[in-house]
């Protein structure tokens, strides 16, 4: 008989992460006293294979029909445990998680209070799960076309990977040409390969690929639909373009920081203070010249411009240190008797071949001077005629403790990178979230680094965080292979936590119709009731909280479930006897 509720509760230690702050054993013992709880256990790592085995065996042995795991955030392991339930023959929605790591153990300092709160959260989950219902999976077919937004190295790599396997790609680029940031640079670190040789063949291949349609000078304002079945509309040269696709790769890249705002650097005021991007331009042309058109004899390179400083951007832009070393090498080979001064805060040489590149560069008579990035930036000023150089830089050298005046004819500012200006618009159009710096957030920073919380939408390259070429390409190909796998499978499972109308209760007031952001609810004139289109419904539940008669239920977030959770959180957890 389904009505008999047999609940298994599992309290995870997460090693010492939870166990240090929460008395997991006590929580399990106390929870075991609650009605309908058949068994309550605690275990070191519930998400591990033995942890999942424990649940699966108990489901079979004790005939459990509901499982509560009290561990980390459901955003991390809800799917893991739902799968375990399925393996044991239970419906995956007969599961609930209580978050006692992120919301308890990691944020509180009093073990007694933390244990009490953990107990309340578990009691709430137990009370909620009594009203859980089995939900049937829904699968939708996948449109095999993919939309790639952005035509830089990441977008091009992803597009080629997918198109080469015979699937259609629409590549939309906001500027008038493909290539992105890589097209702006001369050589690449640490192997000094030509960027042109990397990017040009890719641009050519993409442009001529039978499976790729390129749209230049176009932006995506809105994407409609859901995983497997998206569509968008935009105009190109006054002509309306309509595209249908099953997956989206966002590869919108990044832009460089504008250093005009840094007072002491004199960018825009002192001639021959240039940005790294402007210096790349000179290298591409093959002539390093000051504003006066002379060959510089003293060149200073300043790191971390706009990066790693709370006044500008707190994060590290990742590539500038190695680009600075690349510049030092290129200057030394173009003007062998030039003096190169490299003013750095910390030398970050983390990638493959990069530390070796640093060692090699430091043997080339490049003068490295360290400064304090937080408190004491170097000061750049125009020199007097008698100084014999155009610019003077005063730097409090950190290692020697001395104040050094560096003469320069040219200063290269290693500008950091930041999110694109239209990052927010794109985020809204495709439904991805942004972190505080306007870079896009991946589904999981370690375990799911290219997917997002919107199924079917992936983020790759510089739009996700500052990145070098190899990392951007790796992400692009990772997203492409994820998409190809779903296309190959042909269909994808979608959330079934949609709204449903109880026609007997519906009074036909149509309030739900007016609040639905997806126009997923229609009024059936014949039956005089509202009807939910489950394909369009995304399960936000707004209709459920609007319905005056309670006719609309938000599956898996029903009134009964949430009200029971509240009751468990407050009264039931207080009634629990301490053991």
């Amino acid at each position: 008989m389904e009505d008999e509720k047999r609940i298994g509760v599992y309290v995870c230690w997460c090693g010492t992460n939870i166990a240090k702050m929460v008395d997991v054993e006590r929580v399990a013992k106390e929870i075991e006293n609650l009605p309908d709880v058949v068994i309550a256990k605690n275990y070191k790592y519930m998400c591990s294979d033995p942890g999942q085995e424990l649940i699966i065996n108990d489901i079979k042995e004790h005939n459990l029909n509901r499982v509560v795991v009290s561990a980390c955030s459901p955003r991390i392991h809800e799917l893991t445990f739902r799968k375990a339930l399925e393996n044991a023959g239970l419906n995956p929605y007969m599961f609930e998680m209580a978050n006692i790591r992120e919301h308890v153990a990691w944020v509180h300092e009093d073990r007694g209070e933390a244990t009490k709160k953990a107990r309340a959260l578990v009691a709430a989950a137990v009370n909620r799960i009594k009203w859980h219902e089995s939900l049937d999976k829904r699968t939708v077919e996948i449109d095999p076309a993919t939309l790639v937004i952005g035509g830089g190295i990441a977008g091009l790599s992803a597009a080629l990977e997918i198109a080469d396997s015979g699937k259609k790609v629409f590549l939309v680029e906001k500027s008038g040409k493909l290539g992105g940031q890589v097209a702006n640079i001369d050589l690449t670190f640490p192997y000094m390969d030509s960027a042109r040789q990397l990017i040009n063949p890719k641009i050519e291949k993409v442009t001529n690929h039978p499976n790729i349609e390129v749209y230049l000078n176009c932006t995506i304002d809105e994407v409609f639909g859901y995983v497997g079945n998206f569509e968008t509309k935009f105009s190109q040269n006054g002509k309306e373009v309509e595209l249908k696709f099953g997956s989206v790769i966002v590869a919108t890249g990044l832009k460089t920081f504008d250093p005009s705002g840094i007072e002491g650097y004199g960018y825009g005021k002192i001639p021959s203070v240039v940005t790294s991007l402007e210096f790349e331009e000179m290298l591409k042309k093959g002539e390093i010249l000051t504003r006066e058109g002379k060959e510089p004899k003293n060149i200073a390179i300043i790191h971390c411009v706009g990066s790693r400083n709370v006044d500008y951007h707190e994060y590290c832009s990742r590539t500038c240190c190695m680009v600075a070393l690349k510049f030092a090498n290129q200057i030394k080979s173009a003007i062998p008797d030039a003096n190169v001064y490299d003013l750095y805060a910390d030398m970050r040489a983390f990638g493959k071949g990069c530390e070796e590149f640093y060692t090699e560069t430091s043997r080339k008579e490049v003068m490295f001077l360290m400064f304090d990035q937080q408190e004491d930036l170097p000061k750049i000023r125009a020199a007097a005629p008698e100084d014999g150089c155009g610019i003077l830089i005063e730097v409090n050298e950190k290692l020697s403790g001395e104040t050094i005046e560096v003469p320069a004819d040219m200063v290269v500012l290693m500008v950091g990178v930041e999110a694109q200006e239209n990052a927010k618009e794109i985020a809204h159009a495709v439904g991805v979230s942004m972190c505080g710096n306007d870079f896009y957030i991946e589904r999981h920073p370690k375990l799911d680094p290219v997917a997002t919380t919107t199924d079917g939408v992936y983020v790759v390259g510089g739009c996700q965080s500052p990145k070098d070429i190899p990392d951007s390409v790796s992400q692009a190909k990772a997203a492409a292979s994820r998409i190809l796998a779903t296309i190959n499978f042909g269909s994808v499972e979608v959330e079934v936590t949609t709204a449903v109308v109880n026609e007997d209760l519906c009074c036909g007031c149509q309030t739900c119709v007016s609040v639905c952001p997806y126009s997923a609810i229609k009024y059936d004139e014949e039956k005089k009731v509202s009807v939910v289109n489950e394909i369009l419904c995304k399960g936000c539940g707004t209709c459920g909280s609007t319905c005056p008669t309670g006719a609309i239920r938000s599956r898996h977030f029903t009134d009964k479930q949430i009200l029971s959770q509240i009751e468990g959180l407050l009264s039931i957890s207080n009634e629990l006897q301490e053991v």
Binding site: S73, E102, K117, G541, G544, S545
Partner: protein
């Protein structure tokens, strides 16, 4: 020990719940009085949930959603905002202090703001003292 209020907090899955998770992963410390319930959208927060929380003994209710314009479901947070104002009036008419219910916007990157808000709201409720709704209801029945 000083009076420790119990606060129920409804957080939307996409912004605020993730923000609270971030407070955790960043090991930011805040008052243990806040107990979180996850909803998919702040627009799902039915006024009944809030009233029921007070009835079951909550001293305060905190609702958090995505910042205006950032709702994962486009406009659920606006619907929540409208209901919040109505609910405030209703609570007032019932004789309950308006300060016991609060709506704030917390994005997925605002772990620090969530931790601060939790402390601040706990302090706010401590000032108001225990909520009498549960007791009153029990005396009536």
């Amino acid at each position: 020990m000083s009076y420790q209020p119990t606060i129920v907090s409804f957080l939307c899955n996409w912004c605020s719940y993730t923000g609270a998770d971030l407070a955790g992963t960043s090991r930011m410390k805040y008052a243990p009085n806040i107990r979180i319930i996850r909803v998919m959208c702040s627009g799902r927060v039915d006024p009944t949930f809030v009233l029921s929380a007070f009835k079951e003994g909550a001293d305060g209710v905190l609702i958090c959603g995505c910042h205006p314009g950032d709702c994962h479901y486009h406009e659920g947070n606006y619907k929540c905002l409208r209901r919040y104002h109505l609910l405030q009036k209703y609570l007032d008419q019932m004789g309950l202090e308006k300060g016991r219910l609060r709506l704030e916007w917390i994005s997925a990157s605002e772990g620090k703001q969530f931790a601060q808000l939790a402390d601040e709201f706990t302090e706010q409720i401590k000032q108001l003292g225990p909520c009498k709704v549960k007791e009153t209801v029990e005396n009536l029945t």
